[in-house]
């Protein structure tokens, strides 16, 4: 059964829409009341600031905290505009809204709905503030040691940077990595012990032992009460999300009517909105790098393939003809096509389906038995080893390239190394 049964009469029921909106509101962090939504449909100004704040919470990459609350409304509004723009929000009216919260609630309602239609926003918001009950480990590298946003400008040195400073920094980095590794190893040992010593305690048989969080709760009952309260709060929000999902159809029908009340916009002008300087992080330099690599590769391939083609033709002339011959050749072609197709899919798809994302609860079992949805450490180790090999090869290749470029630089511009280039 592919879809869930949706009650066709649901839309007709009078209370369905407020219920749906109420569920939506409960599922979002500090969601505005259904009344705000209703006012926004009529573009009432008093609904504006609540919607700016909600959009800010949804779009902000930072986790919720006191820091967020203290940001002024104008700043929040500006950041919301910028974030929506970068995601490709189609309507220009948003960019033109005043940032003081004096008007624009209908446009903001449309923006919120646009986000809700594109992705599972309430689920993602609950997942952000999830209470991890177990000891968790993420397998994929999505959040691994990625820098926290663009590197903060450390403008200590204005003058030329000494290469020794760079080398010192790299040494420091290596040292910190080693520290991390040894601390991690110790933590794993301790975790493993705690899991071992508490086996047999857990009411959930599939888990079998306590996690650090759970043991901490027994050690510190006040913290335990806090944990319990947070957990129950999360349960309420999860229930709200489920209720929202069951009832959301009527919301979309309503949003279509809201959109209908807006005047259609003129096609987008050629100039781009200039409320923020364009940060060229995703800039051309990196694409240039890839172009160069591919060109080198193309050259290499052209040469090798030509050579082999010539050799092959010469050899094939000498062999016999016949149906088995051409059948065998066709089989070869098909195999190669299939293999190369699989290779292409590796990068066409945005994610390798074999990889599981997100954190997983660690469970110790002597026999290592796992259900089909669960991951096994042994398999992950294998995957990581092959990733490691792949990355090492890439790194070596890049280091070689760097050395080449450096040599080229030194050769082409002998004065550059010690003297600042003219005109600075």
């Amino acid at each position: 059964m592919r879809g869930r049964r949706v009650d066709p009469a649901a839309g007709a029921r009078a209370g369905a829409l407020p219920e749906a909106i109420a569920a939506l509101s409960r599922s979002l962090p500090s969601g505005p009341s259904p009344e705000i939504f209703r006012r926004a449909k009529f573009d009432r100004p008093d609904a504006t600031s609540a919607l700016w704040q909600l959009l800010f919470r949804v779009l902000s990459p930072l986790p919720a905290g006191s820091a967020l609350a203290s940001i002024a409304l104008e700043v929040q509004a500006r950041l919301v505009k910028s974030a929506l723009c970068s995601q490709g929000y189609p309507r220009l009216a948003l960019a033109q809204l005043p940032e003081d919260g004096s008007q624009g609630s209908r446009e903001l309602l449309l923006a919120l709905s646009w986000l809700l239609a594109r992705g599972p926003v309430p689920e993602q918001m609950v997942a952000q503030t999830r209470v991890p009950l177990g000891d968790e480990m993420t397998v994929c590298q999505c959040e691994a040691l990625a820098s926290l946003g663009p590197p903060a400008p450390h403008m200590e040195t204005e003058g030329p940077v000494d290469v020794r400073h760079v080398q010192w920094l790299m040494g420091k980095l290596r040292f910190r990595w080693r520290q991390l590794v040894s601390s991690q190893q110790e933590q794993c040992a301790l975790l493993s012990k705690i899991h071992l010593y508490t086996r047999g305690c857990h009411s959930d048989q599939s888990l079998g032992h306590l996690s650090v969080t759970e043991a901490e709760m027994l050690r510190d009952p006040e913290g335990g009460q806090q944990l319990l309260r947070t957990l129950e709060h999360e349960n309420r929000r999860l229930e709200a999300v489920l209720a929202w999902r069951r009832a959301e159809l009527v919301f979309w029908q309503w949003m279509d009517t809201v959109l209908g009340t807006c005047a259609p916009e003129a096609p987008a002008a050629a100039s781009q909105p200039t409320f923020l300087p364009w940060v060229p992080e995703c800039g051309d330099g990196e694409l240039e790098l890839v172009v160069r690599e591919l060109r080198t590769l193309e050259e290499e391939l052209r040469e090798a393939a030509e050579r082999r083609r010539v050799a092959w033709e010469a050899k094939a002339r000498g062999c016999g003809r016949g149906p088995e011959w051409s059948a065998a050749r066709r089989a070869c072609r098909e195999t190669v096509e299939k293999e190369l197709g699989a290779l292409q899919r590796c990068w066409e798809q945005d994610r390798s389906p074999a990889q599981a994302h997100g954190p997983h609860r660690l469970v110790r079992r002597e026999d290592g038995a796992a259900g089909d949805r669960d991951l096994r450490a042994a398999e992950l180790i294998r995957t990581l080893r092959s990733q490691e090999a792949c990355l090492e090869a890439m790194l070596r290749q890049l280091q070689g390239q760097c050395r080449q470029e450096l040599a080229r630089l030194a050769g082409a511009l002998p004065g550059l190394i010690w003297i600042p280039p003219p005109g600075r």
């Binding site: 794993c188 043991a215 279509d256 300087p277 590769l297 050899k315 066409e348 110790r364 669960d374 450096l406």
Partner: protein
């Protein structure tokens, strides 16, 4: 080495990497503190820590309360103690007749030491009998007297000890020592934890009922949520798609503008394509075909790879042209973390409860170490790329300078 403005970017990236490491280190150390504290002695508060083991599906013996020996056991042990004390008296009486013997004085407490009691009784073991000829007969006699005295309780003693040991449940190194402590003060409250440690009594802990209920509800809700995502209601999905299209047409643009996120996603795909292609080319070029079929396959593969490289180059050129002509919409100020090479990136589905099962400390440590290693390599690759870009930037700028100057 490099002009200031180039290496400044490298320095900034290095500084960012150092900060990320430091933050991760802090998190680890906090976690380590918590773990160490849990492994030392602490007081589990409340009474729910000492609930008896759950109704046994697995236990075939009757569940005994943790440390209390039953009255019958106490009686048996008392009987045994008396018997052994008598044995000691008898032996002392015999050996007092001028024999110098290093008979260890058996304290009453140590009598109940273990089934190895046989070994810990007076060292007149058969093996030693040969040493003292005058001992032999009394030894034999002693053994004869002791055996019947021990005969009955001995049969029962191991069973008592076994049962009590099961009650304690821990493979403590000296079960007898534990038992001795209990029996020395049989009236002592069995719940007097001298020092609770996870190691010895961790398995007796129980989570409070309110928490158990909330946790199982939480798990079931998450499972419902993740299963609902995979089988979305068709009506709702259709309604959403329709709404998005209406939004697009209402804003007058038929073609959505390329957003910075999309450009980056495409660039990431092409980078991945490049590295995968390069690896494959290496493999093919280093393979040594043995027969004509392998040679043919190799040839076809190389030609196919060549075509794919050409396609990728074309897509790149198109992308660069599109970016140059209509600059993509700006990135937000707080960018999401850079997606690594190993991960695809892209839209994350929400969390679904999954377990990661490991079987030994070593396995866990290997897994964690490999994770760190991959992350480190990712970072190193990123830094090399930054360096390379900067070097190329220098080249371009100096070439431009030469052209203009």
């Amino acid at each position: 080495m490099l002009p200031a403005d180039c290496s400044r970017r490298l320095v900034a990236e290095l500084q960012g990497a150092l900060d990320a490491c430091a933050q991760r280190q802090l998190q680890l150390e906090q976690s380590l503190r918590i773990c160490r504290r849990l492994l030392q002695a602490w007081e589990p508060t409340g009474t729910w820590a000492w609930e008896p083991p759950p109704e046994p599906e697995t236990n075939e013996e009757d569940p005994l309360p943790a440390c209390t020996p039953s009255p019958q056991d106490l009686k048996d042990l008392e009987f045994l103690t008396q018997a052994l004390e008598k044995a000691v008296r008898v032996r002392r009486g015999i050996t007092k007749t001028g024999e110098r013997n290093k008979a260890p004085s058996l304290k009453p407490g140590s009598l109940v030491t273990s089934p190895g009691m046989t070994a810990s009784t007076p060292p007149q073991s058969p093996g030693q009998a040969g040493g003292h000829a005058s001992d032999t007969r009394p030894t034999k006699g002693l053994r004869q007297t002791t055996v019947p005295a021990k005969g009955r309780p001995e049969r029962r003693l191991p069973s008592v000890l076994d049962r009590t040991r099961v009650g304690i449940g821990v493979r403590a190194p000296r079960p007898g020592a534990g038992l001795r402590n209990q029996l020395m003060a049989p009236s002592a409250a069995p719940q007097a934890p001298e020092a609770f440690t996870l190691k010895e009594k961790g398995h007796l802990l129980r989570l409070p009922a309110a928490f158990r209920k909330a946790a199982s509800q939480n798990l079931s809700l998450w499972v419902q949520l993740s299963s609902m995502q995979t089988s979305d209601s068709m009506d709702a999905a259709a309604a959403k798609t329709q709404f998005l299209q209406n939004m697009q047409t209402a804003s007058g643009g038929s073609q959505p503008r390329l957003s910075a996120a999309e450009v980056e996603a495409e660039a990431r795909r092409l980078r991945k394509a490049c590295s995968l292609l390069r690896l494959r080319v290496r493999e093919e070029l280093s393979a040594a075909p043995v027969d004509w079929m392998q040679e043919y396959r190799c040839l076809l593969t190389l030609e196919g790879l060549q075509a794919m490289v050409g396609q990728c180059l074309q897509r790149l050129q198109e992308l660069r042209a599109a970016v140059a002509e209509q600059p993509p919409l700006p990135c937000p100020v707080g960018r999401p973390p850079r997606a690594s090479l190993s991960c695809g990136g892209g839209a994350e589905p929400t969390w679904s409860p999954q377990l990661l099962v490991y079987s030994s400390t070593q396995e866990l440590q290997t897994l964690a170490a490999l994770k760190l290693q991959v992350a480190m390599l990712d970072q190193q690759i990123h830094l090399e790329k930054v360096l390379l870009e900067e070097e190329m930037g220098v080249q371009q700028r100096s070439a431009a300078l030469r052209r203009s100057g």
